[in-house]
Symmetry: C3
Subunit: 212 residues, 3 copies
């Protein structure tokens, strides 16, 4: 049961990291503290909620267990308090966010597999869980979603979820598959940031398209 | 049964007020009349619809009873016709909108309680019902949602829903609880507008955060 | 069964056309190729997905049959490759998009009718299916949804869905009703573009409203 506790702990860390990215985005739009809490909550739980609504998988976890919402609200408010320190913590924060991305993608795929859906849909739902919290955050903050533009965010999510699903379907032991996928996703994301990896952008302006 | 009729009437007034805010927002973006009607509908029913989708509570009320949609569409078009008068009616309109906010928050919490969910989730769903119609309206009109920035909108919704839930759970008679909560929410909102009450904003720019 | 194959083929063409509009919109925001694929998918399946979530109609079709997603992803990437040709293909593309709009509206209404909902809700769901893929695309690309502003897009959807539903409820043979509605919707849309038909816009600025 140790691996369950480890993945739960990492998942919870991921939720709090997502809440913090939401709170900071809200701060950039000068929202009030209530708006900060709502954006923090939506960012942290939005991806998993959308997944469950797409799958018709009710009740949604935070509706059954309201303590998640309270922890997320607290993390959002804590972010406001430590915001002046964020410039010193930005590397730590990126690392926590990378853990969150990997764990969300894996847990999203894992839950979908366990509900009996196909491998492909499980991978898609891993991406929905990993990425769409940030997408909803950016929509609420009136920005083009960052994850569609930068730093392989969505690709890391896809690769991590796919790696986990492939290992599981080939008889991988749960905690080994989880560990490998988390480490892979974390390293992939950190390397993508460090070396500014990117995939080609599609630039289509004034009816003349190019891909560079 | 009088209190049922009163709350139904207030809820219907609230829906029409929400439709009008949607129509005016659509007008600011120079939408065509069909866009005005769609934004009016989404604003009026978006919060309750999102609540029911989150709870898995099907069928959604306006799908069972399509007359709500027709009334909302009519209110949206009426708004276009009386728009030149809106400057003279703005106080009346704010008052109607405040009634709508209070009633939506209470009805959202009430329905969630009746479905057997916890007090906390009922309060959260009161806020979802009261606030997210306007959030979806602002997203469709490509604006940062106002409710996260101004005039205690979301806080009024939370406080009103919480007051109703606490009274209900402590054995409050339905119509007394409803009346007190409606009056409380209405007065709280009107006072917040009148005296420009606000809660602190979180302003996080250029990596230097402050709360003021 | 020929008419089933024809409508399926047209529906599939519509999905691919929608994916292409999504890919082009993503290119205007300089998204990376992964973002292009996601926007393409969301545009193509967003309307039908929203309809099924509103109706509580699970499982959603692309979750049961993942091949749709793969075809849409391929169409999105193909769009990137042929983007330089799009200026020469723009008329063809508008025609394909018009077919897609008509077929989506009809299929959305048809599925809702077959689930036992009322005629009015079936028409509303036709509009949701026909129009909201593009609405979600524009939200993700941070634009005011075009369909609320231009070229009768939403009105064509409503009229086409309504025509189909009225014919069906009056005993119309399926393939005759389908054919008439598809041809009507296609022609209506092409004529609206050709002759710049529009319905009045509601322009509400600085508290002075007018409709022109």
């Amino acid at each position: 049961m140790l691996e369950v506790k480890v993945i739960s702990a990492l998942w919870f860390i991921g939720i709090l990291a997502e809440a913090m990215t939401g709170a900071l985005a809200a701060g950039k739009k000068q929202m009030d503290l209530f708006g900060v809490v709502i954006i923090g909550c939506v960012t942290a739980i939005g991806g998993g909620t959308l997944r469950d609504m797409l799958l018709g998988n009710y009740p949604i976890i935070w509706i059954e267990n309201v303590h998640y919402l309270l922890a997320i609200a607290a993390a959002s408010l804590l972010t406001v308090m430590i915001a002046p320190l964020m410039r010193y913590l930005s590397r730590l924060f990126l690392a926590i966010d990378a853990i969150g991305l990997a764990v969300f993608s894996i847990v999203g795929a894992q839950k979908t597999l366990m509900l009996g859906f196909s491998a492909e849909i499980s991978i898609v739902m891993g991406v929905v869980t990993g990425v769409f919290g940030g997408v909803i955050r950016d929509i609420l903050c009136n920005q083009v979603p960052l994850v569609f533009k930068k730093e392989l965010y969505a690709l890391v999510s896809l690769a991590t979820a796919a790696l986990y699903v492939v290992m599981k379907l080939n008889g991988g032991i749960e905690w080994v598959s989880l560990s490998i996928a988390v480490i892979f996703g974390f390293c992939f994301r950190m390397l993508a940031i460090r070396y500014r990896w990117s995939i080609p952008q599609f630039d289509y302006q004034n009816k003349s398209g190019s891909c560079h």
